[in-house]
Each structure stands twice: as structure tokens, then as C-alpha cells.
């Protein structure tokens, strides 16, 4: 089993990450990937030009590693691959690439789903949306927390 986690400060190219994961997933029959993009609209409908992701020099990558390791252990997939942006991300640009490979498709689908639910609530980032009408800090929504909690209750397994 292999874990690849990385914080990317300038640009994230999902197709490059996917190509590299496929190249390393020799023998596996399934690769599932998810790409998160910066939205151009805030939850209140106001336009967003830039999403700023502040991070901690040690704890942020540590949180990505813990989430990735949990996915490897929980689903027994062969590879977990998580690359996350930090810094300023323009709307429409990729923020996160989360993927898993495994011999068969089901564990890879579940691991990718789990990775995103955990990342959305437990990854150590502070996000600020900036637009023409100002900026504001954002926190996980109740829906994000419910998505994460379903893995703890076992209802997602």
C-alpha cells in the first residue's frame, strides 16, 4: 500500500496527478479520482474571485497524511493520492485532487468518497472567499459534518 500526499503552493494539474497514479498502480483494476474546483459563487450567492487557503507549516500536511493513512487502512486500497492547493486559488481552478486505486472498483470508490468527506472537515486549512464585495472566512457546513459523521456511525460502509 502506498500513500502520496502533497501540498501544492502554485498550481495543481489533475491530469498529471492522475497519470502518475495510474503509472504507479500496476496490477490494479480500478482508479477512482475526484477533483475539487474553486466555485465562482459563495453560498449566499455573491460572486467569489479568489479562494485563499491559509495553512500551518507542519499540521496541515500532517492532517492530510492522517486522513490518507486512515483511508488506506479502512478500505485496503493499494494507493491513496491526495494533492491539495494552498495559497490563492482563482475561481474555476483545482483545489484538491483525491484518488485511490485498488484491484477492484468498490474499495476505490469508497476510499475516494471517504477522503473527500474527511478532507472537507478535518484538513487543517483556513479558507477565505474574496470577491468584489469583500471577503469572509468559511467553515464546514452542517452537511459537511454529516457527510463526515456517516463514516463514524458506520452507515456509509
Amino acid at each position: 500500500m502506498a500513500l502520496h500526499t502533497r501540498l501544492e503552493h502554485h498550481s495543481l494539474v489533475p491530469q498529471r496527478e492522475l497519470a502518475e497514479l495510474i503509472a504507479q498502480s500496476g496490477g490494479d483494476g480500478a482508479v477512482v479520482s475526484f477533483v475539487g474546483l474553486a466555485r465562482g459563487t459563495a453560498s449566499d450567492g455573491k460572486p467569489v474571485q479568489t479562494l485563499v487557503l491559509e495553512h500551518h507549516p507542519v499540521m496541515t500536511i500532517k492532517s492530510l497524511e492522517e486522513i490518507g493513512a486512515d483511508a488506506l487502512d479502512r478500505f485496503g486500497v493499494s494507493h491513496v493520492w491526495v494533492v491539495h492547493r494552498a495559497g490563492s486559488v482563482l475561481s474555476g481552478e483545482p483545489i484538491v485532487f483525491a484518488a485511490a486505486s485498488s484491484p477492484h472498483r468498490r474499495p476505490a470508490f469508497e476510499a475516494a468518497d471517504y477522503l473527500m468527506d474527511r478532507l472537507k472537515t478535518d484538513a487543517i486549512f483556513w479558507k477565505r472567499e474574496e470577491g468584489p464585495e469583500g471577503s469572509h472566512w468559511i467553515e464546514p457546513t452542517q452537511a459537511d459534518r454529516s457527510d463526515r459523521d456517516r463514516w463514524e456511525s458506520g452507515s456509509a460502509d
Binding site: G36, H56, M59, L64, H84, L119, F125
Partner: protein
């Protein structure tokens, strides 16, 4: 003691301050900071704001020395 802030706390207070404090627990530091920065007192006292020492999250009873660097995390946004 050096105190660093992240997220909205860094915007409200500063990224880093020098606090003239002999020592005490994390709870003591929260109380002292709340006096100095009353506009952020609700956040500083909130359990959603976590303290971090030596790259480990610590609870309110954790003891600190005057030379320590303690960090306070505003509620994280997730990825």
C-alpha cells in the same frame, strides 16, 4: 511567550505577538488574551479554537513556560 494565530484570529489580532507572561496553562493564556483583545474574547475562549504546542494539539490544562511558542487555531475550514 510567543503566541501565533491562524485564520480569522490572525486577521483580528496579528499573526504573532510577544506576550509578557511568566507561564500558566493554556486556559490562563486564553483568559489573558481575552482581556487584551476583548473584541476576540468570544473566539479566544471558545472550545472550537484549538491550542497547539510543538505541533501537537493540546487541551486547556496544558502547562506553558514563558519561553514557549503557543499557537491558537481559529476553527478550521477543511479542504
Amino acid at each position: 511567550m510567543q503566541v501565533r494565530f491562524y485564520g480569522k484570529l490572525a486577521e483580528q489580532i496579528a499573526r504573532e505577538i510577544e506576550l509578557d507572561q511568566a507561564g500558566g496553562t493554556v486556559a490562563d493564556i486564553r483568559a489573558r488574551l481575552s482581556e487584551i483583545y476583548p473584541n476576540s474574547a468570544d473566539d479566544l475562549r471558545s472550545p472550537l479554537v484549538r491550542a497547539c504546542m510543538g505541533d501537537q494539539l493540546v487541551d486547556d490544562s496544558f502547562p506553558l513556560d514563558s519561553g514557549d511558542v503557543v499557537e491558537f487555531f481559529a476553527p478550521v475550514s477543511g479542504g
